[in-house]
Symmetry: C2
Subunit: 222 residues, 2 copies
Amino acid sequence: MQLAVLGTGMVGETIASALSARGHAVMMGSRARDNPKALAWAAGRARASTGTFADAARHGEILFNCTLGSATLEALRLAGEAALADKILVDVANPLDFSKGMPPTLTICNTDSLGEQVQRAFPRLKVVKGLNTMRCDLMVRPSLVPGDHDVLLCGNDSGAKTRVATLLHEDLGWKRQNIRDLGDITAARGTEMLLPVWLRVWGMLKHPNFNFRIVVGDAPTA
Amino acid sequence: MQLAVLGTGMVGETIASALSARGHAVMMGSRARDNPKALAWAAGRARASTGTFADAARHGEILFNCTLGSATLEALRLAGEAALADKILVDVANPLDFSKGMPPTLTICNTDSLGEQVQRAFPRLKVVKGLNTMRCDLMVRPSLVPGDHDVLLCGNDSGAKTRVATLLHEDLGWKRQNIRDLGDITAARGTEMLLPVWLRVWGMLKHPNFNFRIVVGDAPTA
């Protein structure tokens, strides 16, 4: 499949590498066509390419937004509405605010989310929020944490969520029962707001190799 | 042990009943000494009593704040600093905002939390945020959801957290390894901000009988 990753940071590189290793034709998109990190990533890698955000948006059937939350809307504007069109965008970004020091807070939360902002700015784009609740190594290799644990998806387009779930299952190794569909894109408030508790669990464990699992009992009878 | 529950709603009644059934002398506190719900709860129940918020604060070694988040600070002011003194307060409340319709949003989040507000307002009080991330039946009977799943505690006083953890284990049936200490009271931001994702999981499952589990892998070597 033709896939694209927007962003050249650690998250983008991790996802692009994993998808490329599965044989997909992955383009890494960035602001400038001669981005050295993108060129270094693509060098010697089969079916890997680089380009602008617009190039990448045109290339991919499914796009992964791995830009910083603070840069996401600008990156998508640079890609342009025509190139984005009605593509599927997996929004992996979190709206982190480092301006108040560490730990980061959120620039958007509670009554809105980055996922919703992206969907409102590009109404034709099929935004699927997902993978944003864990460290990036785990996104592409869920077996790094043993047993069942969940990846949370949401978005307005059911078909897009189904395609993303299939890719997560077939290419990244997520078990079907651990791919959870929380509903429409407004659920991105919930998954983005996991960041503060995620940071505290990291602090408790002293490492980030963990994930959340939804453990379900029987429906109450009363 | 002498324990107190502040609040006569479903959460307060559930916790008070469970602790009373374990043989503790539980006082249910409310605004007025003749609160009919509190009187009905205590009627015919061994070692159960009722009183004002101040009566309850004086009675209990450990207090459970089961008032609405919007009423918590006022309830504690009614209890009074003298009665609260350096007691342990388990803050079960969430700062829910129903004014914008359903689902509720939060009145406080991201850079502050209800738990922190309570701690700042009553500096001597040993606030332990906890139990606020699940439905109340599960708080007092974790076996309603099978297997391992977690209750998240935080607070500035280690001794207070240890006492609360012991009570959760011995009286409410929480396994030791499922009682997670996330650190100081600022972690209440994280646990209170679980509310939006909790609501979406409820919507997905169509029932509230679930909980979150932190699933941990090995520390990364790189």
